[in-house]
Amino acid sequence: MAHSQIELTPRAAFADLPITAPGSGVVVQERDELGIASVLARRGQHEALTKRVRERFGIELSPGPRRSAAGGCAFIATGPGAWIVTVERASNGCVTSLTDALGDLAAISDQSDGQAVLRVSGPKAREALCKIVPIDLHPRIFRSGAVAATVAAHVGATLWRLDDDPSGHAVFEIAVFRSLAESFWRALSESAAEFGVRMNGRG
């Protein structure tokens, strides 16, 4: 049997999407390197899971749609007993370590490829996002750590807010199904066009 080693190069979900209105009102960055998994508490194990997450990850899961993070790992609550967990620079590897840590208390499924995540910041991020997400993004309402599973321009999306960037502008991340990345991008970039768009870390 011929043993061929074909090199498989991964491809990012938002790769090669065009920017039609360059500028600096809205800054976007693809978060391709994130490891992502869905974590669903097993029946009756919610409390045990909370405890375990505190022990293993140093993360305090707060009730409701909140993002709780520590050490490059974040638990993003998307439903009762349901989280999206993101791990910086972990890619598909994150599912194994999560399963090792939590598998007895939660069902864990890799979503590193299923979710395409975009970071949206810049002085006009809110103005652009309010055109596609039906969520009140007022700084006092949608605070740092807030999460919303919702719909953006007919595309299911999960939105969360991170800490502000050094210049004091709000920073959001938004996750959509990978197959919808292009459609979502068309809606977002059109909404942001009047403010100008810059892509960070492309290439």
Binding site: G64, P65, G79, P80, A82, P134, A148, A149, T150, V151
Partner: protein, 94 residues
């Protein structure tokens, strides 16, 4: 119409899908004669109606919503399978 999802907070009804009467229970398989009623017959009241909404574009929870079918006013929303998170729409709004 806005539904106060116990998990997500208040959202537009377009994030949800609707499945009608929430008082319908799947009958016991040993009582087949009840299936016809459960699947087909409805009170269809003009007034208070307990109904199922699924937050499909949100937290994926099935909710039990009490709503007036004449005014669309929503009285209560709760998780279908978790009576402890009962939220009073009025209280939340005030």
């Amino acid at each position: 119409m806005r539904i106060q999802c116990p998990f997500c907070g208040e959202r537009d009804s377009s994030e949800f899908t609707y499945l009608g009467d929430a008082t319908v229970r799947r009958p016991d398989p040993s009582a087949p004669e009840q299936y016809f009623e459960a699947v087909y017959l409805r009170d269809n009241p003009a007034g208070r109606h307990e109904e199922l909404w699924y937050h499909g574009f949100g937290c994926r929870s099935w909710l039990r919503v009490t709503r007036d079918t004449r005014t669309h006013e929503i009285f209560t929303v709760e998780m279908y399978n978790d009576a402890t998170t009962e939220t009073n729409q009025e209280a939340a709004r005030a």
